[in-house]
């Protein structure tokens, strides 16, 4: 459904490379996630795929249309929700939705089924101007506007950035339902915990893809054993675990440290910490998460 073939894009006359030699494919009906921190090149990929930007090199195909040659055809069959809220703030919810329906030559009624679940949540405020909506409502409206013409492919650039936890969860539930409608979805997010909601993910960093797989596959590929280390003095604990000569890597994750060891060195950590005064330190093996994998890939 979406194919990228060695896509490269530079800015400032080639001085800054935004994305470098990116190739991957998204299958029809797939919910595909681009996961990576700010500046990884996610938005650049979206802008190329939505025909807003020309790639320097490489070819990209969306819904069997070339993004350069057939850009006009792509524009009528994709929905795009940019990272920044970009609807008309001075028009109401209903006027925005109506406007985008009409420019695609359709009406709200025609595709009401598709947006119903989402639109019903904001419908009580339909006469309110978009600029006066809360973050979560803006996001729902933007999704409605991107969906109102029943696109074959939906591009969502960081849809959950700046949205509260409950709305984020709701949003991903909505994406799941849209996927069941057969819409191919490419979504980006800087939140690693959202990666598990995707069918497949691409981990991106500095314009390159580190790994592409299912979330499970990526976790399974984690080559080492991972331990969570806790104590009451988290701050000094980090320093001391890093100072321990058997430690391979150590990162703070909330109230615990995620640690990998050089072969066979895990058992000796607790005695070492005790000798340093960390008497209540505990260690237990854990399953790695996407973030652990990401950090591991960055290191490699």
């Amino acid at each position: 459904m979406i194919t990228l073939d060695h896509i490269t894009k530079t800015y400032n006359k080639g001085q800054f490379t935004a994305v470098k030699d990116i190739s991957f494919e998204v299958q029809p009906g797939e919910l595909f996630g681009l996961i990576g921190p700010d500046g990884a090149g996610k938005t650049t990929l979206f802008r190329i795929l939505t025909t807003l930007l020309l790639p320097d090199q490489g070819r990209a195909v969306v819904n069997n249309f070339d993004v350069v040659k057939d850009y006009a055809k792509i524009r009528s069959c994709v929905g795009y929700m940019p990272g920044r809220f970009s609807l008309y703030q001075d028009l109401t919810i209903e006027e925005n939705l109506n406007f985008f329906a009409t420019v695609f030559g359709t009406t709200i009624e025609e595709n009401y089924d598709l947006v119903k679940d989402i639109y019903q949540q904001i419908e009580p405020f339909k006469d309110r101007r978009a600029g006066k909506l809360s973050g979560g409502m803006k996001q729902k409206l933007a999704l409605c506007c991107a969906l109102i013409h029943k696109p074959a492919v939906l591009f969502l650039d960081e849809p959950t950035t700046g949205v509260d936890v409950v709305s984020r969860k709701e949003f991903w539930d909505m994406l799941k339902r849209l996927k069941q409608e057969g819409i191919t979805i490419l979504v980006s997010t800087p939140y690693m915990d959202e990666a598990n909601r995707c069918d497949r993910i691409a981990l991106m960093q500095k314009g390159s893809i580190l790994s592409i797989d299912t979330p499970d596959g990526i976790v399974k590929a984690f080559p080492e054993e991972l331990y969570a280390v806790r104590s009451s003095q988290t701050h000094s604990l980090l320093r001391e675990v890093r100072a321990y000569d058997g430690t391979d890597s150590c990162f703070a994750f909330g109230d615990s440290l995620h640690v990998t060891f050089k072969t066979g060195k895990s058992q000796d950590l607790l005695p070492y910490l005790k000798s340093k005064g960390q008497t209540d330190a505990t260690i237990q093996p854990i399953e790695p998460g996407i973030e652990d994998c990401f950090i591991h890939l960055l290191k490699g």
Binding site: L52, V78, R84, L91, F100, G105
Partner: protein, 403 residues
């Protein structure tokens, strides 16, 4: 066409909803049009004059009376020495110093001629120029006056001379003298040649008649070029233009959708302006309104093209604003609103010829004051259309390139 209708519906909805913009677009220009012509009046009043009368004769007294009675001058000082008068000029208490020499009356009678000395403070150019000219006219009148009064048929009565100027730039002059001197034959009519002029199309040289149409153009210019640019740049700033770009809307529809609302607003503003001109200044266009409005539409086409072009070169409204101010200031000062284009150097005139407002101001004055028809304005209207075509093409090409 259907797309255009939706776009227009959206634009008008947004514009009508933004009361602040609506106020600045329509009410502010009306207020400006009521106020600005009051300032744009070249007739100079209340010129302060200081007189150094070294003669103290009836003739010098009568001259001073005549000057103060003219209504243009205010006698702010009557000093004994020229230096005192000059001090008053330096202290800004007087704009003009008039020195009447000793024995003015006697020499005038005996020698048929005597010089007066005028020093003008030229810091305010217009005031100095016109003040000096007014004073010269009064003195010339006065000169003729005493000649007739003395009933002297001797026509050889002129001996003007000029005096070199003193510190503040000067216009110094004259007074020719009468010719009494025991001349014969009284009551013979004096043969004289006088040229009288009459002002066509604006017989009383009413400045407002001349300024109001031009100021209206200035206001329409600001509205058309700036607001259209800001509106488009605002879509860039808010990211909505990207959202529009991923829809099947064609660029030319989008651009038309932006231009037509401002064309309509421009026409409304222009109509309001004509009404203000009629209500406040009693100006009724002599010419055909159809000619005026046809020219207006061509003009707006050109200026909206400029706004569009500015928008393609600006990423933020602030950038658009500074760019627009640059052009608007040049347009206002150089397009013949206040000063005649004909008096500029040739190369400057060539530049001004590329400014749409210069052509439209010309058309406005021709149609409003003189009643010119289409055949008289072929050149300026064609020029505006050509400039508009260039600006719009440039804008569309640049819009494609940057997006």
């Amino acid at each position: 066409m259907k797309t255009l209708r939706f776009l227009l519906e959206k634009e008008f909805r947004q514009i009508l909803r933004n009361r602040q913009i609506l106020r600045t677009l329509l009410i502010a220009p009306v207020i400006q049009l009521i106020l600005l012509p009051l300032a744009a009046d070249y007739s100079v009043k209340n010129i302060s004059i200081v007189v150094v009368d070294n003669d103290h004769s009836p003739i010098s007294q009568r001259l001073i009376n005549k000057i103060t009675a003219s209504g243009h001058f205010r006698l702010t000082g009557y000093t004994a020495s020229y230096n005192e008068a000059l001090t008053m000029v330096e202290q800004d208490q007087a704009d003009i110093a008039l020195q009447i020499p000793t024995n003015f009356e006697r020499d005038l009678v005996r020698e048929n001629a005597k010089q007066l000395f005028i020093a003008v403070n030229a810091i305010e150019g217009t005031k100095a120029n016109l003040g000096g000219a007014y004073l010269n006219t009064i003195i010339r009148d006065y000169n003729a006056d005493i000649r007739i009064r003395w009933q002297s048929p001797n026509p050889t009565a002129a001996a003007p001379a000029t005096n070199p100027g003193a510190t503040p730039s000067t216009a110094s002059t004259i007074t020719a003298a009468p010719a009494s001197h025991g001349t014969p034959t009284a009551n013979t009519p004096v043969p004289q040649i006088t040229a009288t002029s009459s002002n066509w199309y604006n017989p009383y040289l009413n400045f407002k008649l001349y300024m109001v149409p031009a100021i209206l153009v200035v206001l329409v210019t600001a509205m058309a070029a700036m607001q259209s640019a800001f509106n488009i740049v605002q879509e860039k700033e808010s990211g909505t233009i990207e959202q529009i770009n991923v829809t099947p809307i064609k660029k030319h529809w989008f651009i038309l959708g932006k231009m037509i609302p401002f064309l309509v607003l421009g026409i409304i503003l222009f109509t309001l302006g004509l009404l203000v001109g009629w209500l406040f200044y009693g100006i009724i266009p002599v010419g055909n309104l159809l000619v005026l409005y046809a020219s207006l539409i061509v003009y707006l086409f050109a200026m909206l093209g400029l706004g569009l072009l500015l928008a393609t070169y600006s990423g933020t409204q602030q950038q658009a604003m500074s760019l627009a101010f640059f052009f608007i200031n040049i347009f206002n000062m150089m397009s013949g609103v206040f000063t005649a284009i004909d008096s500029m150097p040739g190369w400057a005139q060539a530049i001004v010829a590329t400014f749409p407002p210069s052509h439209f101001i010309k058309i406005m004055r021709m149609v409003v004051l003189k009643g010119s028809g289409f055949s008289d304005i072929v050149y300026p209207i064609t020029a505006m259309a050509a400039i508009g075509l260039v600006l719009n093409t440039w804008a569309v090409l640049n819009y494609r390139k940057t997006n």
